[in-house]
Symmetry: C2
Subunit: 355 residues, 2 copies
């Protein structure tokens, strides 16, 4: 087995989910990720914790959903399992990223709604989402499998304590900030994060990570922003997204491809025209866009904004974050831009203030 | 996909576990059996029930057990999952039947003890154990994979209602029987089943099935019995087992190979020298010994006796079945023997009384 798989498992167990004796652990994986599951069983065994693995594949979901149709039941047996567990490790690594291509959107939404209680339950658990490098994901990224393995494990096998400490400087500074400004090509955007709660994302809930994020005050966003990187939704890419905000809401938008899909996303519900997240990527081992948000949003020298839902822990106490059924991250390259906290540059020409 | 996999799934869903709308279903499978899992998801979706799949492989268990050592915790999260479920379908189909070869027996036992509560819980559920034909199991049977597929699906894809009705004649007659006698080569064995509860095993809990079984009165067995077919235990074969019973207990025993292993089994505990089961196989599509008890014990024209534990539902009300940590089935060919209920032959020279 590739040594890097063993290291990957050790980080998941020791750092990300801090598994200890007596913990009840759930792993969710596609059989393609079997080597990582195997390495995890070894580490979990050494901790004297108790694992079980849910086999999850897009093809199974697709066939089940199509045959069932709408009005899915909430999987109460799965909820009971999660309730009784301490740790949930979800491994991405499907062998076909297009498996859901022929499932109508309303069926997917109906299934997601029925599974909503699971998401709520997981908020109280030690949860980590990670990636196993598969041929399908390499293909989707336009890379060779061996090249993609290097990319994935370079991004994952890091000293996460060091990452944590560096990002802590950014998080602390952001926590004392009222107004954030993003400047760059066709971009001048202001938003308030006053009283909000910035989060240091340091390889625990996402592996890889390398990001500090915060919920903006939903009504505060003003100005215009242009995004260099595409939004990938259901296999379609929306390019050159431009948004104009007034009073926190998108009042104008455009894109050079699939603009209609962007319009549909913005019209989802009351909250889908407002921001739920400002994120700042710090992981310079993620050196390219691979059409995989778990990686893309953590790229060094990028910021991203999410339309829709605000992650509750990034919302300040006694404040309200944005609510919506969607959470769509859109990434902006900052190599030629500036990120300012209350008028002071914290990221400029590809350097953070501590660099 | 092989049409027989679709039929296999339909039997499991419609006949074996009678899945209906709203049922919460657990499948346990090795990825080698993915095609059957996929076919099951389709059938379960059509019933508007809710499946999830536990990924179970011997290699994962082996590595976990070795790393953990003894004193396993009971998997409380798995128990919570099973408690909340209605149906449990377990699919055999590992890719390596020797995976546990380097795990010491005491570790396996310790793990089995920790999982004992799971077995109890499953007694209240609609449970079915079946086989997916894999190359590893074909190899273990000494067969080609294509030949083994024919064998497995011939045994499984039957009219189980018809099997049920035929076996019901045998079950009814056995339920009115006091003394059973097995006659054959080097064999004259008597045991009492008076007041016990014979069970018609008709493709529900085991698929394939084709057997009527009952718990003997633990103290009743008298005489000698010779078994033509080997006992396979942890990859070792005990051949030519001979047992002599007095007052229900084995008082003498021999075997032509691995006699020491037989001795160890007999010395496991107080109940391991008494019988927990008499079974009568009726499935003539199982026409050979394949070193797989799920099939072997259902062979047409065989009987089997189990040392140890009696399945509770085969024990008569207000009576006690045998108790033990083991349940070791041993099979006897009856083509040249006779099976008598209260002195009347019900199976003689390869024909049942209704044939």
């Amino acid at each position: 087995m590739d040594d890097r798989i063993v290291e990957h498992a050790k980080i998941l167990v020791d750092w990300s989910t801090e598994i200890k004796e007596g913990d009840k652990v759930i792993i969710r994986a596609h059989p393609s990720a079997m080597d990582l599951v195997h390495a995890l069983y070894k580490e979990i065994g050494a901790k004297k914790a108790t694992p079980l693995t849910l086999m999850s594949t897009n093809e199974l979901s697709r066939t089940y959903m199509l045959e069932h149709g709408e009005d899915f039941d909430t999987p109460e047996h799965l909820l009971a399992l999660v309730k009784e567990s301490d740790v949930f490790i979800s491994i991405r690594g499907d062998d076909n990223l297009s498996s859901m291509a022929d499932v109508p959107g309303d069926i997917v939404s109906s299934h997601a709604r029925a599974n909503q209680p699971l998401m709520k339950l997981l908020m109280d658990k030690r949860v980590s989402l990670t990636q196993f490098p598969t041929a399908s994901q390499a293909q989707f990224a336009g890379m060779s499998l061996e090249g993609y393995k290097d990319f994935v494990w370079n991004a994952i096998l890091r000293d996460w304590q060091e990452v944590h400490d560096q990002q802590e400087m950014l998080r602390e500074r952001l926590s004392k900030t009222d107004e954030v400004c993003i400047e760059g090509k066709d971009t001048e955007l202001y938003l308030s994060v006053k009283g909000m709660n910035p989060v240091n994302s340091d390889g625990k809930h996402n592996l890889p990570s390398g990001e500090v994020y915060v919920a903006p005050i939903p009504e505060s966003t003003e100005g215009t922003v242009y995004f260099d990187m595409p939004v990938v939704q259901s296999g379609r890419e929306i390019h050159d997204v431009r948004l104009e905000f007034e009073g926190g809401e998108v009042v104008d938008h455009s894109a050079s491809s699939h603009e209609d899909l962007l319009t549909t996303l913005l019209n989802t519900d009351d909250g889908s025209r407002r921001l739920g997240e400002l994120g700042i990527g710090t992981n310079r081992d993620i050196d390219r866009f691979t059409r995989n948000m778990l990686f893309d949003e953590k790229m060094g020298d990028t910021v991203h904004l999410a339309l829709g839902y605000a992650v509750p822990k990034s919302v300040g106490e006694s404040l309200k974050g944005n609510e919506s059924a969607i959470h769509v991250d859109i990434i902006k390259d900052m190599k030629d831009g500036r990120l300012l906290f209350d008028g002071e540059a914290v990221l400029e020409n590809g350097r953070f203030f501590w660099e």
